[in-house]
């Protein structure tokens, strides 16, 4: 192995693998990357064991791209491990950065999840009351499963993170930029969000925008949106105004309201609350009843407004 080559690792926690695909979607650049760096660890692409990493000296890895949230003990252990071994830890994708889709689990308790998945699910065999436990004696031996945490954490909740690359998944071009910067050593000072814009999505959205007035919010299937004008103005709960740009407005381009995957714009602490404030501001109701009617198209406010950022919200449901 070439000593000059960068040593990097990629890992996925509670994730769908989309971020890994996004890395692969950089096409030939992956090859260039491979030319510039040794990928020591990448569960979906490269053979490698935790033990190999453990064996490395601290800081041996130049960088780790960690996608996925922290859902269980294994995620957390590996996060700690990779943190120790990496000089730069990058949270890749919204799950890692803000909790992402898995983070929506924070809207309910662990007990509710277990109940729903293992006990109260119509596809469960009647009478089967099996619930995963951390230690299960099987045939005299004790199997160990990673502990299922009461809630989902962002990567930054368990370890120090140097960079966030938001997106679900991050746009391949952006991933490529980040990797290129990593390779060339031109990443900004630590703590930055990289691979994203400094303004909200509306900045790059190509739709025509007017002063906002929304008669009522609609479900996506209720209307065929006009392709030219702002989707929010048409009543779709577009998260664009409170979402960091950088993706290139991919969703609005295909007549789809922004879902907010790039997380809040710079300075915004709570994407969901901010969206609620923005959305509620543009309707014209003068009574509670009128407002309820106007908001009928927003059935699950928490889920819609915090689709990708619930674990990053100012407020967290009690886990006690």
């Amino acid at each position: 192995m070439n000593g000059d080559k960068l040593k990097i690792a990629l890992y996925w926690g509670a994730a769908c693998g989309g971020c890994d695909v996004a890395v692969l979607d950089t096409d030939e650049f992956v090859l260039e990357l491979a030319a510039e760096a040794d990928i020591l660890f990448w569960p979906i692409a490269v053979d490698g064991k935790y033990e190999d990493i453990r064996a490395l000296p601290d800081g041996a890895l130049d960088a780790t791209l960690f996608s996925g949230a922290v859902r269980n003990a294994e995620n957390e252990d590996v996060a700690h491990l990779l943190r120790e071994k990496s000089q730069v830890l990058i949270a890749l994708g919204s799950c890692s950065a803000f909790g992402g889709i898995p983070g929506l689990a924070n809207a309910v308790t662990r007990e509710e999840i277990l109940e729903r998945v293992y006990l109260d699910n119509p596809s469960i065999e009647l009478g089967n009351r099996t619930v995963p436990r951390t230690r299960v004696p099987v045939n005299g031996t004790e199997l160990e499963l990673p502990a299922f945490y009461p809630r989902v954490w962002r990567l930054s909740d368990v370890v120090d993170v140097d960079y966030l690359v938001p997106g679900c998944p991050p746009a391949p071009e952006r991933v490529q930029e980040v990797l290129a910067a990593l390779v060339s050593g031109t990443l900004p000072p630590r703590g930055a969000v990289v691979g994203a814009a400094e303004k909200a999505l509306c900045e790059e959205c190509r739709r025509r925008k007017a002063d906002k007035r929304v008669a009522r919010f609609v479900r996506p299937w209720e209307i065929v949106p006009d392709p030219e004008s702002c989707l929010l103005e048409q009543g779709l709960p577009c998260a664009g105004p409170a979402t960091r740009g950088g993706c290139g407005a991919r969703c609005p381009d295909i007549n789809q309201a922004c879902r907010g995957c790039y997380g809040p714009p710079p300075g915004v602490q709570d994407q969901g609350a901010t969206l609620v404030g923005a959305w509620a501001s543009v309707i014209e109701a003068k009574t509670v009843e009128e407002a309820e009617t106007a908001f009928a198209g927003l059935p699950d406010v928490l889920g819609i407004a915090h689709r990708f950022t619930l674990p990053a919200s100012l407020l967290q449901r009690s886990c006690r």
Binding site: C202, E203, K212, P241, A278, S281
Partner: protein, 571 residues
């Protein structure tokens, strides 16, 4: 959130005699405050607002080089100006003060000294946390162009123009028609004193025409208005040519138009030649010939009130002047045709103005027959038969007798109501003001501010705001002039130090803030693709800041950081 370098804060706790000290342990607050980050001095005193109290603050500011001050005392609504002055006199920016209201909202409303002291501590702590994030603010000024554009050359417009011009300020009247005078020029006498409208108008007209400070643009229309209060640019089309005017204020006096009586089917206007409108009667009165279509002199003249007004079908509002005008016609018809009978069909007699009730009584005394019909049950007019000794028959459900009656008449005059001019919508859009559901321009506040609009620098006067008689229009026109003169007198417009501002580096141009501002202070820059607050128009409510999803709008002195700090502080 980056924290500013550690400030030097002074905390001053007022006992307010025993008003605060009786329930709140002021010394304890002062002691505790010393422990809070940034606090370099904390003192309690009998009366902070007294001269020695203020002197104490000033002295500490100087001695301890304080750069922030917290006063825990009464409501800021009471003494914030006092303490701001104290800061200013000691050389500190007055906005580096924060008050904790431990009297009105603490000592006076709670009995338990422990709980009250705890609450006062929390409030003081919050004030300290907040004041750390205060920044020095300065009042700003924008220049005030003394020139005014008056839209509409009716009685209101001319009055406003004269008021301003007499004060030596330049005025341009833009009138759509080819003459000044508006609707007043169409009437002969005014109610209730039967003064000559012509004389009123001639006086105004003469003064307007001869006034060196007034220029009149006839057959002219406003095409575009840009800028903000004190500094507008107006494009006016005058007989096809466009002219650009630099002005500081706009007074909109575009007046009204009369309701189209033909819309009320049962009255037969347009169908029956001897059913005429009030303005047509005015013309007859001016000519001295009150005649039926066939040239005969009517024996009975009927006046129908509320045509188009106070009805579910047409306009719900009262047009305010028609009752008195109808009474006036009662007098005029009896004067011109002493033998004629006058029948007056009304709903409620709105004789509310000065001298009007008296006029109503006098009209009754000359035997005008008043018949009352119900709202939404207008009379029906039909031609009389050959045997009737009259021309028309009016059927109505007379409310005061409870009888279904028919009234003979030779000439019927419809008191047509007022409605917004057809171009009111366009005007509203041009000058960025709103209209109510009936289409009248909306004033900034009906009681606080009846002539200003939500757009600073744009004023409304006269019947374009809602139906109005001449004295009320005149008063309004003058009120609008007062507002302008006040600003002109100062030569500049003071912009309060507290206003919202947009950080262009953060603004994504989503335009959510655009509809937040009731004052039209938020402008969207198409080129920069970002919004902008016109400081001169901002009233600092902070609504836009709360809506901004990018935190690009910042409400000065009520910033997110300050409020977050305060929340942390009180808890």
């Amino acid at each position: 959130m980056s924290r500013p370098p550690l400030p030097r804060i002074g905390v001053f706790v007022c006992n307010c005699g025993t008003n605060i000290a009786r329930t709140v342990d002021c010394e304890e607050i002062a002691c505790a405050a010393m422990e809070w980050p940034g606090v370099v001095v904390a003192r309690a005193y009998k009366y902070m607002c007294s001269d020695p109290g203020q002197e104490m603050i000033a002295e500490e500011v100087r001695e301890k080089r304080l750069d922030r001050v917290v006063v825990a005392a009464c409501s800021p609504r009471m003494h914030e100006p006092t303490f701001r002055r104290a800061l200013a006199s000691s050389g500190l920016n007055p906005y580096l003060l924060e008050m904790a209201n431990i009297r009105e909202q603490c000592s006076w409303v709670h009995d338990d000294p422990r709980a009250a002291t705890d609450k006062a501590l929390a409030l003081a702590r919050a004030a300290v946390a907040r004041v750390v994030r205060h920044e020095p603010l300065e009042k700003r000024f924008v220049p005030m162009n003394p020139a005014t554009l008056v839209l509409g050359g009716g009685i209101a417009g001319m009055t406003a123009a004269l008021q301003l011009a007499d004060a030596g300020q330049p005025v341009t009247i833009v009138e759509r028609a080819d003459r000044l005078g508006g609707n007043v020029a169409r009437i002969d006498l005014t109610a209730p004193h039967l003064d000559s409208a012509r004389e009123l108008l001639l006086g105004r007209l003469a003064r307007v025409s001869m006034h060196p400070m007034i220029s009149v643009l006839l057959r002219a229309e406003l095409e575009q208005l840009e800028g903000y209060q004190g500094n507008f640019t107006a494009d006016v089309a005058v007989e096809g040519a466009s002219r650009r005017l630099e002005i500081g204020s706009v007074v909109v006096c575009t007046g009204y138009k009369e309701f189209d009586a033909a819309r009320v089917e049962g009255l037969g206007y347009g169908r029956l030649p001897d059913v005429i409108t009030s303005f047509e009667l005015e013309l007859m009165l001016k000519r001295g010939r009150i005649e039926m279509a066939d040239g005969r002199t009517p024996r009975t003249v009927a006046l129908v009130h509320c045509v188009g007004s106070r009805s579910e079908e047409y306009h719900g509002y009262c047009s305010r002047v028609c009752c008195m005008t109808a009474l006036k016609y009662g007098h005029e018809v009896k004067s011109a045709l002493p033998g004629a009978a006058v029948v007056d069909l009304y709903i409620d007699m709105h004789a509310f103005g000065k001298g009007c009730e008296d006029f109503y009584r006098k009209t009754a005394e000359i035997k005008t027959l008043f018949l009352m019909y119900g709202k939404n049950a207008p009379p029906v007019i039909r031609p009389a038969g050959p045997k009737d000794d009259c021309n028309l028959l009016i059927t109505l459900d007379e409310k005061l007798s409870g009888e279904e009656i028919e009234v003979p008449a030779d000439l019927v005059v419809l008191m047509v109501g007022m409605e917004p001019r057809e171009d009111a919508g366009r005007v509203a859009q041009l000058v960025n003001i709103s209209r109510d559901k009936d289409g009248w321009f909306i004033e900034s506040h009906p009681k606080l501010d009846p002539v200003a609009t939500t757009t600073d620098g744009i004023y409304i006067a006269g019947a374009c705001q809602s139906p109005k008689d001449i004295p009320d229009s005149v008063a309004q026109a003058r009120a609008a002039a007062a507002r302008i003169l006040a600003k002109v007198a100062k030569g500049k417009i003071e912009v309060d130090a507290i206003f919202a501002e947009v950080d262009a580096a953060r603004c994504s141009g989503c335009r959510i803030c655009g509809t937040m501002c009731p004052y039209g202070a938020i402008e969207y820059d198409e080129e920069q693709k970002s919004s902008r607050v016109v400081e001169a128009s901002c009233k600092a409510c902070g609504c836009c800041a709360a809506a901004c999803p990018s935190l690009a709008v910042r409400a000065r002195h009520f910033t997110d950081e300050q409020i977050f700090a305060q929340i942390e502080g009180v808890l």
